[in-house]
């Protein structure tokens, strides 16, 4: 009997040693971005397969859609996946592969500008040679020639953009017109906010009169605290990603923060988008080519393709977001005067004056992480 016990102990120790030996094979440092030199996307013959990851409802679909047109014109087979519903979740999903220089099979991502910059800083994104993107830079609207995070347009090309505002069910809550209205107890439990921190928190800060560009970390945390209290009290029903369209459709909410062009995703006719009276937030999503993209030539060709006004006008007419190409407004006015004159799609400068552009919290990346962590705590308890 006693021998048995000694045997067992010996076995346990042997196992432990074995496992530790295995573990020693693992790398010391995990993550941290790749250290290699930045790749530049190579152009070349346009053929093969192209894989694009994008947000839902962001391109005109179907056999007459832009993707089908591109396929017909170039012979490239396109796999268009609309699997991005949240910048952070998408990033989290792909990060391990991007870190190893793989793109998860994708050639183009469309992510919001701040996320594109973050990916670039981590070395997850390839640089673009302007010589390969003639059509893009010939046709891009002047206000988009430079971007705050990418002044020389080295790595990101605008896709579509818009404003974050309030989708309101006019049948049930017609009086909601501002961010402060969302905190009105009258609508307790029927209000939804976005889990995209850089959309929600700046709007809340603005509704309190704080200038986002000069806001301090404490201002951010205070706004997050206000949201937290509203969640605790039951005022805010949920904080979600793109799925707010589902709750609006189902009638579970009367108002939600949301993106200006998402109309096609909401299945309830009485819901309309309103620009808040006390806050304003614009965003612009960008195309990037990730490291390890299998078909950069086709990716570059696609970018050039969608910058042709006659192609872009189809996208804009369906998607209803702000677009970056010259000459599109004139074309659209002829096709559909109402859309062509829409302030949402072609915002005049006054319409977007004073709007923030999806800012980062101030400070170094530790501070950013603290703020992000605080917001995540509100979302997941």
């Amino acid at each position: 009997m006693r021998e048995h016990k000694i045997w067992r102990l010996a076995m346990a120790v042997a196992c432990l040693v074995g496992v530790l030996a295995l573990a020693a094979c693992g790398s010391d440092d995990v993550g941290g971005g790749s250290d290699e030199d930045v790749q530049v996307a190579q152009s070349g013959p346009v053929e093969g397969k192209l894989t694009i990851s994008n947000w839902p409802g962001y391109i005109d679909p179907g056999p007459d859609g832009t993707v089908a047109e591109f396929e017909k014109k170039t012979g490239v087979e396109v796999d268009y996946i609309d699997d991005i519903t949240s910048n952070t979740v998408f990033f989290g999903k792909l990060q391990p592969q991007l870190d190893r220089g793989e793109s998860g099979g994708r050639d183009i991502f469309v992510v919001t500008d701040w996320m594109a910059k973050r990916m670039y800083d981590l070395g997850y994104v390839q640089e673009l040679d302007h010589a390969d993107l003639q059509t893009v830079f010939d046709n891009i609207l002047p206000q988009f020639e430079k971007a705050a995070g990418d002044p020389d347009r080295k790595f990101m090309i605008p896709w579509q953009g818009g404003q974050t505002g309030i989708w309101v069910d006019t049948a049930k809550a017609p009086e909601i017109e501002s961010i402060s209205d969302l905190f009105d107890p009258k609508y307790k439990g029927q209000v939804i906010l976005l889990d995209e921190m850089r959309d929600t928190v700046p709007l809340v800060m603005q509704s309190e009169g704080i200038d986002v560009d000069t806001a301090t970390k404490d201002d951010w945390l205070a706004a997050i605290d206000k949201i937290d209290k509203a969640v605790d009290s039951g005022q805010i029903r949920k904080i979600t990603d793109n799925s707010y369209t589902e709750d609006l459709t189902a009638g579970n909410a009367v108002a939600s923060l949301g993106w200006s062009g998402d109309g096609s995703l909401i299945g309830r006719d009485t819901v309309e988008w309103r620009k808040p009276k006390d806050a304003c937030d614009t965003f612009f999503d960008q195309m990037v080519i990730p490291v390890g993209a299998p078909n950069t030539a086709a990716a570059l060709a696609f970018m050039n393709f969608v910058y042709r006004p006659e192609v872009q006008v189809d996208i804009t007419a369906w998607v209803n977001y702000v677009q970056p190409v010259q000459g599109v407004q004139e074309l659209l006015k002829k096709q559909d005067p109402e859309l062509g004159n829409s302030k949402l799609i072609f915002p005049p400068p006054e319409y977007t004056a004073g709007c923030t552009e999806d800012p980062d919290p101030p400070g170094d990346f530790e501070d950013v992480r603290d703020v992000e962590g605080a917001y995540q705590d509100v979302i997941s308890g």
């Binding site: 048995h4 045997w7 067992r8 076995m11 094979c25 693992g26 790398s27 995990v30 993550g31 839902p56 409802g57 996946i81 609309d82 699997d83 519903t85 999903k93 792909l94 391990p96 592969q97 190893r100 793989e102 998860g104 099979g105 994708r106 979600t240 990603d241 793109n242 799925s243 369209t245 589902e246 459709t249 189902a250 009638g251 096609s264 995703l265 299945g267």
Partner: protein, 271 residues
Amino acid sequence: MRAWKWLREHALNIYAGLAIAYMLIPIVVIAVFSFAETPRDRMNFAINDGFTLEYWQNAFAVEELNESMLTSLKLAALSTVISTALGTLMALALVRYKFFGRRASNLLIVLPMAAPEIVIGAALLSMFVIYSVSLGFTTLLIAHVMFSISFVVVVVRSRLIGFDRRIEEAAADLGATPFETFRFVTLPLIAPGVMAAALLAFALSIDDFVISNFNSGTTVTFPLYVYGVALRGIPIQVLVLATMLFCVTVVAIALVIWQQRRAERMVQAQA
């Protein structure tokens, strides 16, 4: 008075009926909604526009859905085969032999069942990340087999416990080698248990969401696909396919049961 008596006698059965109805409610709802017309071809949570057969007629119109379903079926099939084989062997070892390390092995089997799925999924992710293993179908398969083995062992084991060894001894007495005994005597007799275990493993794999979410990389299984579209509008075809999956399983199990009955009746007839 009579009514009362009848009620008391059948109370349990009535309860059972209600309970079963409760369990089937979501399935009925899904089936019903698969016939509902919606303007954007995605689920609208209410039936406002009447009924239609168009989604059943175009059941395979959504590319990504089909791919995810195929991936799930492939994954489940492979996972079932591997885990049932490994698990059955383990069950045999554990029930029939007393050997050193038996208690430790029992513990090893029980632990995965005792760990919450999120912990298992996250732990696997940690290991894959540290070893820089690329996430995808293979990592999914590894994970699915892993969590299925324990269940297979438990099911097969309970079947093995009531097994009468004397039949095997009789076969040996009649000159069969151990291998032949296993193949022609043991295996057929434990077959129902093994089938049940396989069915369970298949269901667990098709159903799995949490562990797959952590370890799939960019491979999309059916549950992962549904999770993705649930956030932005579920194509009605999802409901169609889910109902189809359900019906196919009903038919499959019905066939198995019918087969069993036939076999039993034949045995009885010969007795």
